[in-house]
């Protein structure tokens, strides 16, 4: 546990000192959302109807942006093999790295989302649920994405390949994230959706570090 905290601290310190992807990710999020009114027209009711979907799809794409670099730097400078040789489960260290990654990407997205929801005329009833779905969903996206990042380490064109691998796996999170917000906006109960999102988060917490660690060990062989 203390080792996991060590790695979270180191990754956060690195993000702070060498400039992290936070700004780029949030900028992409904002820019892409802003593109939609140009694409589908600025009528308030169309934007409102599609706001949950647009926000979630864009957040999903934005959170994928910095994923391929999650393990890349450590892989290239030899830190990854030393991490694999630490006297603790590699899965724990992976969780630490993902936690740090989420703090620098998922959390800023979560903060930016309500602002963009205003731009898309989202119904006020949806805001709280929006935040909740992002709180439950973005860590799941980071976890699944980390597994993808570990799989494409050392591959040719890893960035694009990562998207192909990870986007199909994101679909359930997307469906229930948007479903919860739409339900809330229509005045229907959204607990079921949120519970399912929570369940997916727990399942990802349990399973993806294991898969990611296996993939990392493959990369180091």
């Amino acid at each position: 546990m203390s080792r996991m905290i060590e790695i979270v601290r180191r990754d956060l310190r690195l993000a702070l000192r060498q400039g992290s992807d936070s700004v780029m990710v949030v900028t992409f999020f904002v820019l892409t959302v802003v593109l939609f009114p140009f694409g589908i027209g600025p009528e308030a009711n169309i934007l409102e109807r599609t706001s949950a979907g647009v926000l979630w799809v864009t957040a999903l794409l934005a959170s994928m942006l910095s994923l391929d670099r999650l393990f890349q730097a450590d892989y290239e400078d030899g830190s990854l093999e030393l991490l694999a040789l630490t006297p603790t489960a590699l899965e724990v260290l992976v969780l630490g790295k993902v936690a740090a990654h989420w703090l620098t990407t998922g959390l800023p997205l979560m903060v930016a989302a309500p602002v963009l929801a205003v731009l898309l005329h989202m119904n006020a009833d949806g805001f709280g649920t929006l935040l909740l779905t992002m709180l439950l969903g973005t860590p799941t996206l980071s976890l699944i994405g980390a597994m993808g990042a570990a799989l494409v380490l050392g591959a040719r064109r890893g960035g694009v390949l990562l998207s192909l691998l990870v986007l199909p796996l994101y679909v359930p999170v997307l469906i229930f994230g948007v479903g919860a917000i739409d339900a809330a906006v229509q005045g229907l109960p959204s607990q079921a959706h949120l519970l399912i999102l929570g369940g997916m988060l727990l399942a990802s917490l349990a399973l993806t570090p294991w898969a990611a660690a296996a993939a990392l060990r493959q990369a180091l062989e």
């Binding site: 790695i7 180191r10 400078d77 630490t86 006297p87 062989e221």
Partner: protein, 224 residues
């Protein structure tokens, strides 16, 4: 003094290593006891780095098992990780962290209770203490290598697996490393070292890895 030092044996029989689809070495027996050292020699491609990575646990052998005092190493990977230090080709130094921060991170990962005093002593031995606050990006290649080697001293581990550690080191630093290795062995530690340069390892067994390279496959034997 010998009664205080616990003796342990690191061994393997019939080891084979396959990288990609090539058999790098096969039918290798390996044995190392406390205080001993092995010098790995052989041409490029003979498997020196592969053997070191295999001993560290980064690579799985295609045949044979690694044993520590008779118990298979794979039964408890974390215990094995705790007892080795691996120094590879890369120096694992973050450019934006200072020398001390880099060392402290690795020391604490290996042993969470490791204190600043050990880190300081390690840096002093390696001649880096006065550079403690310097960020990694300003270090020369030799200084980076010395920082990497300082890990050996910042947290204790009985087995040192060193892959060409003297690259980029000047004569004085090589002497320091030799002294450090001698002290380590005197205290019961083991050293496995691969090198192309001259490193003084008194009493080390030499292992020529091309002795274990399998003979080239006779093409006529292959049928399709």
């Amino acid at each position: 003094m010998t009664d205080d030092i616990p003796t342990a044996t690191f061994s393997a029989e019939n080891l084979a290593c396959v990288r990609g689809e090539r058999v790098v070495f096969a039918q290798m027996d390996f044995r190392l006891s406390s205080g001993e050292a092995v010098l790995l020699l052989g041409p490029n491609g003979s498997g020196k780095s592969s053997l070191l990575r295999l001993l560290a646990g980064l690579l799985k052998p295609a045949s044979g098992h690694l044993l520590w005092d008779g118990t298979p190493v794979l039964d408890d990977r974390e215990a094995h990780a705790a007892r080795i230090h691996y120094v590879g080709h890369h120096d694992a130094i973050k450019p934006v962290l200072s020398v001390l921060e880099n060392l402290r991170f690795w020391a604490r990962l290996h042993d969470p209770k490791s204190g600043d005093a050990t880190a300081q002593a390690a840096l002093e031995t390696m001649g880096l203490w006065r550079l403690a606050e310097v960020p990694g990006k300003l270090l020369s290649a030799g200084q980076k290598r010395r920082l990497n080697l300082a890990r050996l001293l910042a947290a204790p581990a009985p087995v040192w697996l060193l892959d060409e550690p003297t690259v980029a080191l000047d004569r004085a630093s090589v002497k320091v490393l030799e002294g450090v290795m001698a002290e380590h062995r005197a205290a019961g530690g083991m050293v496995v070292l691969s090198t192309h340069a001259d490193v003084d390892l008194p009493g080390a067994r030499e292992m020529h890895l091309d002795d274990y390279t399998p003979a080239p496959m006779d093409v006529s034997e292959v049928w399709i």
